[in-house]
């Protein structure tokens, strides 16, 4: 069982949902390891966004409120920090703010940047999993370290009515 194969099975599962739409940087255009994971999806399922992480996170909430299942991709976990306002102050609080009447569901995926064979330095390989777990009340934050964890986590993310942040490790993609 290989980690990357399980990741692809999980992504294919999300891609099979009729309302899923994959958003972020390098989904329509080559650029990161995540590009390979969506390359076989129908082009209508892919939406390349500008590099504007907070905008992307809010945009995903807005899509979800109109019935879509956004899968919001952040190829480096360092960059999702820029989206924390929307993820924690809005998505995480939305159900409480609407007294349980509205619960937009967003699946987010962030990748801890690989350090081998090339070490990208201090700003591209951080793992903020514990920080997100600490900040989140209603979002499931799931770090995937072992291959056997991966597909079940994607299945749960699809089945639950909660939003999920999936965290993967670029070094495990090899």
């Amino acid at each position: 069982m290989k980690y990357i194969d399980e990741v692809q099975k999980g992504m294919d599962l999300l891609g099979s949902h009729p309302k899923s739409i994959f958003i972020g940087q390098a989904v329509e255009y080559k650029g990161t390891a995540l590009t390979h994971q969506v390359k076989n999806f129908h082009p209508e399922k892919l939406l390349e966004l500008p590099v504007a992480e907070e905008f992307q996170a809010g945009f995903a909430i807005g899509l979800a409120l109109e019935g879509y299942l956004p899968v919001s991709l952040y190829p480096r976990m360092n960059f999702i920090i820029l989206a924390v306002n929307q993820i924690i102050n809005h998505l995480d609080k939305w159900e409480a703010m609407s007294v349980g009447k509205s619960k937009p569901k967003v699946i987010m995926k962030a990748v801890v940047g690989s350090a081998h064979p090339l070490d990208p330095g201090h700003q591209h390989k951080a793992n903020y999993t514990e920080a997100f777990k600490s900040m989140s009340t209603n979002i499931d934050v799931v770090e995937l370290i072992y291959p056997h964890q991966v597909f079940d986590a994607y299945q749960r993310a699809l089945d639950t009515d909660k939003s999920t942040l999936i965290i993967e490790h670029g070094d495990m993609y090899k």
């Binding site: 500008p50 809010g58 945009f59 899509l63 102050n89 703010m97 609407s98």
Partner: protein
Amino acid sequence: MNQNDLIEFENEIANIYEKGIIRAPIHLRSGNESQLIDIFKNIKKEDYVYSTWASHLHSLLKGVPINVVKDAILEGRSITLNFPEHNVYSSAIVGGTPSIAVGTAYALKRQRKSGRVYCFLGDMGFHTGIAYESIKYSVGHDLPITFVVEDNGKSVGTPTFNTWHIDTYYIYELMCKMAHGSKDVRIEYYKYESKYPHAGTGTFVEF
């Protein structure tokens, strides 16, 4: 609802608040009733309204029943009134809703639905980077969205001009120039002065 109805509603909430019944901050507005009535003449039931921490009047004009808005305020939710059954959402965070509003506008267009999104922004919120990104994306993709700048010249007590040193109306004009080529994106602006402070009534507990 007419202008007097809106004024009376806020006055009633102010009176209740001063009796210490509401155990949360409240955000009252005045001086913008006629402008809002004009704007809401065009807003239909299926349209979305994304608002700010000051959303009593927006909720009422969108068609949320008076007693429902009042109950939510009495329950302590003045700062984030959300009525999904009426497509009314608000955020207490500056610049909190524009990107969400754009996502909804994109979804409406993609599904060829007839609704429209109205995103209300205070003047300080209008100056934020996320507001600029949201307007720019809407213009670039010609989304069914109207941004409404509600300019009372300050954020809490901080004068917007004194901090940015650029007039909000000038930024509005720049944004209108950017939106000029778009069929669907509209940007509206109005200036007003509220008799109420940012939060509360000015005579009771300060938030």
